[in-house]
């Protein structure tokens, strides 16, 4: 089971209390689609993703960004058992959406860059470490039901 230090718990709660959910999810997903264009293949029904401007102003991308943040919030509220919390989500991504799990790391990287940009100097190396540990656990939990 993942062990969290008091610092790590506090850092994660702090980050999620400060970031703007409406902005961060959309920004992270947009960056993923722009920086790693092959991820667009999973969003065939999202309409215009032909360039960066289209992606960042696409309402379906924005809406899906909020879905992602809601999913992350569940992990933040259940830090001691993210694996069980994400069991159905993992099955969904594996069996129905058929997402290559390597892509979870790409979205996680984009999320880190967005949060770093939002927090600026407050995203210290220690806070950065705690956040990446959290995302590593999230990614591992999403991968868990893949066979």
């Amino acid at each position: 089971m993942v062990k969290w230090s008091d610092f790590e718990r506090a850092a994660i709660q702090d980050i999620f209390s400060k970031i703007n959910y409406d902005v961060v999810g959309c920004a992270a997903l947009s960056r993923c689609l722009i920086v790693y264009p092959w991820t667009q293949r999973y969003f065939g029904g999202f309409g215009n993703l032909y360039n960066a401007a289209a992606i960042t102003s696409n309402p379906k991308v924005a809406a899906h960004g909020k879905v992602i943040m809601a999913g992350l919030e569940k992990a933040v509220k259940n830090m001691d058992d993210i694996k069980t919390t994400y069991k159905d989500l993992s099955v969904l991504h594996s069996e129905k959406l058929q997402v290559d799990p390597d892509n979870f790391n790409l979205l996680a990287d984009c999320l880190t860059i967005v949060v770093a940009g939002q927090m600026g100097a407050a995203f210290t190396p220690e806070v950065h470490g705690a956040f990446q540990k959290f995302l590593a656990v999230v990614v591992a939990s999403l991968r868990k039901q893949y066979h």
């Binding site: 960056r31 722009i34 960066a52 880190t112 940009g117 995203f123 190396p125 950065h128 470490g129």
Partner: protein, 147 residues
């Protein structure tokens, strides 16, 4: 050979102009060692790197950060042919320091995140994509002499 559009060249130079080598260099290795602790194995002669506080205050790490960014400066200024210029650096990391090349990618991530904290909204999706393309080329150049 990597092809660069005029726009991409402008973006890379634009990001680099805003990087203070002393400031960013000092933080760079701190993030790498805190977020990816196994990297400590390469720093046996750097003194105390065993706590977050020690890492953040270690002068040898800060100095090495500047060395890395000085090398990156060479790449920015010679964007069309730095791969050849990096050959001896790559050989040194392969034969002498024996660095697992996966770590180049991790350090590149830490560079991007340190810059994201500094540049914030200026590191927009387009700029991030171009900057990451540049760092991928640097990572590839660093890996070029590995067999």
């Amino acid at each position: 050979m990597v092809k660069w559009t005029e726009e991409e060249r402008r973006i890379v130079r634009g990001v680099w102009e805003k990087v203070d080598i002393d400031e960013i260099g000092a933080e760079l290795w701190a993030r790498a060692l805190i977020v990816y602790p196994w990297i400590e194995r390469y720093f046996g002669s750097f003194g105390d790197i065993f706590t977050t506080t020690a890492i953040l205050n270690n002068p040898k790490l800060a100095a090495l950060g500047k060395v890395v960014l000085s090398a990156l400066d060479t790449a920015v200024k010679n964007i069309d042919h730095f791969k050849a210029m990096y050959a001896s650096l790559s050989r040194q990391h392969y034969e002498k320091i024996k660095v697992d090349p996966d770590n180049f990618r991790l350090l590149a991530e830490c560079i991007t995140i340190t810059i994201a904290c500094k540049l914030r909204a200026e590191l927009n999706p387009q700029v991030q994509a171009t900057w990451q393309k540049f760092l991928s080329a640097v990572v590839e150049a660093m890996s070029s002499q590995y067999k």
